[in-house]
């Protein structure tokens, strides 16, 4: 798509520059074009303003009041008390930690394993669609289907996972009932569920690497592993950065699978921050407090994104220089 854009835009620009009369009409109709442009953008703007901007503003307003889901909101102004409470709430911090822990545990396998699968699939030519089907199709399942399947597989005793592990001589593990294991179980499920996305991105990246580079390296006597290390991995650096950025942001927003598989348990040991916000808002009806925590969490995401962009730009600067 971008290729089309590039190849088409250059001659057009040149043509417009040559044709003085086009330029004049463009200038005189400038403000009208602006207005007409705005008119076309308007329907989107209305939806965007109504369902993104306004709730974002409203959420901040709510966070300044002792706003409850039941009854009117703006009666009890409390300034930044909700934010202060957020910072002092051990449950907020522990749920933030679970979100970060999930991100730390899920990101490495989701990046490394998808790269490994893509390297294998890129090498094996026959039936590539079959591997794509195997690795990618779980990605299209709704979270609740994934949760149903894995809760069933993790059942103690007659569950598939326990069944086979016990048969192989391992001890029974409380996959979802043991506080020390539950997060790992959720991560395993998540890796199975979402790896296909990164796999597809890596496969696309691999296919852009010209074959003759390998041929030249092979002529110089580089072995397979040397080729992967000194050609494939450096040339995939951009894809890896993109995947890493997307993966960290996606992992930080974890909610569905944890909520549906463990409901944050056992004993709140897996509860992510979005679930805590949800519970404060919709179980205890403290929407003002929930909004304050939403903003605190948004700040975390913002800091992570900005950090990532900084890293991206630095890397790009190095590549250019």
């Amino acid at each position: 798509m971008t290729e089309v854009a590039k190849s088409l835009s250059t001659p057009t620009v040149r043509m417009a520059r040559d044709d003085v009369s086009t330029r004049r009409t463009a200038r005189t109709t400038g403000w009208r074009a602006d207005l007409a442009g705005l008119g076309l953008v308007l329907p989107f703007l209305v939806a965007y303003g109504l369902f993104l901007i306004w709730p974002a503003i409203q959420g901040f307003r709510m966070s300044l009041f002792n706003w409850r889901l039941t009854g009117s909101g703006t009666t009890d102004f409390m300034g930044f008390t909700n934010y202060q409470e957020t910072l002092e709430d051990p449950n907020f911090w522990s749920s933030i930690w679970h979100t970060i822990l999930f991100t730390l545990l899920s990101t490495p396998p989701l990046v490394i394993l998808s790269l490994f699968f893509a390297l294998l699939a890129n090498r094996v030519v026959p039936a590539r669609w079959l591997y794509r089907l195997a690795f990618f199709s779980p990605n299209l399942l709704p979270s609740s289907v994934v949760a149903l399947i894995w809760v069933w597989m993790y059942q103690p005793g007659f569950g598939l996972v326990s069944g086979y592990l016990v048969r192989l001589g391992f001890n029974e593990i409380g996959w979802l009932s043991d506080a020390g294991v539950a997060m790992v179980s959720v991560v395993i499920t998540t890796v199975w569920w979402t790896i296909g996305f990164n796999f597809v991105l890596y496969l696309a990246g691999l296919q852009e690497i010209p074959r003759d580079i390998y041929e030249a390296a092979a002529l110089d006597g580089a072995t397979d592993l040397e080729q992967e290390r000194s050609i494939t991995l450096p040339l995939l650096a951009r894809t890896t950065t993109l995947i890493l950025v997307l993966q960290v942001l996606a992992s930080l927003k974890v909610f569905d699978q944890i909520f549906l598989m463990t409901n944050g348990g056992p004993n709140f040991s897996t509860r992510p921050v979005i679930q805590y916000i949800y519970e404060q808002g919709f179980s205890t009806y403290r929407v003002g407090y929930a909004s304050a925590m939403s903003y605190a969490f948004f700040l975390l995401i913002l800091v992570v994104s900005l950090g990532q962009f900084g890293l991206l730009n630095r890397r790009r600067g190095q590549a250019d220089g």
Binding site: M1, V41, F51, L140, S144, I149, Y214, F282
Partner: protein, 298 residues
């Protein structure tokens, strides 16, 4: 040079021993992978692909069992009799058909409205320039807006309605971005010629641009449909009436509704996963290309 190398590679790799004995000959592209390396790669890949298929196959195997034989120790893949009883009972007794309908209606509406709003906006953005247009590509994670959005839906009296599910999902900056990228590539003289012919802006949009933008429409439609079909958090919050639930939300309740009837639970899971898997079989190329080209997570 390249063709020479190619020939070496094309030579039957049965010369593996020769290749090993003579390092100069090994320097063909098939030395990359060789036969041995390719075989290991294939083996590993088949192993992992099979592993990835297990959680897809196990629910099907469970759903085909009689309820009494789902919890045997040790686990068995095939029971004494294979039947569709579990599928029949969840389709006839449960709300599954209703959830399908709700999901289909809301996802189709979200997709159609998103394509319309985003393409119109991109058309405007792509031709007119006004200050601060880039601010609109600011993306807020939907997860942090759930609380204020819900109170807003209460005020609009849209809780437990289709519009309550649909409207908060139609303003997609990413969709505008994809359309804009595409529209920026359409030559201006095409539009100028139409303007001289007296066509209005809307007609230019509808009769010239949209037919040209078929690939962008496909990309936006597919990812919007998949994302809204699978969306859990928002419909879960805005819907409490079981009759209005979308498929993912409804399926999150069956564990408690069916108790320990695992064949029925798995039959629901299989039926819940099936629609998009079928879509994937048909649109595999478009979906994969869409992701590779845009990097959009559903």
């Amino acid at each position: 040079m390249a063709s020479q190398v190619g020939q070496v590679g094309a030579a039957p790799a049965a010369d593996l021993d020769v290749v090993r004995a003579n390092p100069d000959v090994s320097a063909g592209p098939k030395a990359r992978g060789g036969r041995f390396g390719d075989r290991i790669a294939t083996g590993l890949l088949i192993f992992f692909a099979a592993l990835w298929f297990v959680p897809l196959a196990w629910p099907v195997a469970t759903a085909l069992k009689p309820e009494a034989e789902t919890t045997t120790i040790p686990v068995e893949w095939v029971a004494s009799s294979v039947n569709l009883e579990a599928f029949r009972s969840v389709l006839s007794a449960g709300s599954l058909p209703r959830w399908y309908l709700n999901s289909a209606l809301t996802s189709l509406a979200i997709t159609a409205i998103t394509v319309l709003l985003a393409s119109l906006a991109a058309f405007g953005f792509s031709r007119a320039r006004f200050r601060g247009r880039n601010v609109l590509f600011w993306v807020v994670p939907a997860q942090i807006l759930i609380v204020p959005l819900f109170t807003q839906m209460q005020a609009f009296r849209m809780v437990d309605t289709y519009w309550g599910i649909i409207l908060p999902q139609v303003a997609s900056p990413i969709a505008v971005f994809i359309f804009k990228q595409f529209f920026d590539g359409i030559p201006r003289d095409l539009e100028e010629a139409a303007t001289i012919d007296g066509a209005s802006r809307l007609r230019i949009y509808w009769q010239i641009w949209m037919p040209l933008a078929r690939s962008a429409i496909a990309a936006v439609s597919i990812f919007t449909f998949v994302a809204s079909w699978n969306n859990f958090l928002w419909p879960f919050i805005v819907i409490t009436n079981p009759d209005m639930m979308t498929l993912p939300v409804g399926l999150s309740q069956v564990q408690t509704a069916y108790g320990v009837r695992y064949a029925q639970i798995m039959a629901s899971a299989v039926l819940g996963g099936l629609p998009l898997l079928i879509v994937f079989l048909f649109f595999q190329r478009q979906i994969v290309q869409g992701i590779a080209g845009t990097g959009i997570k559903g």
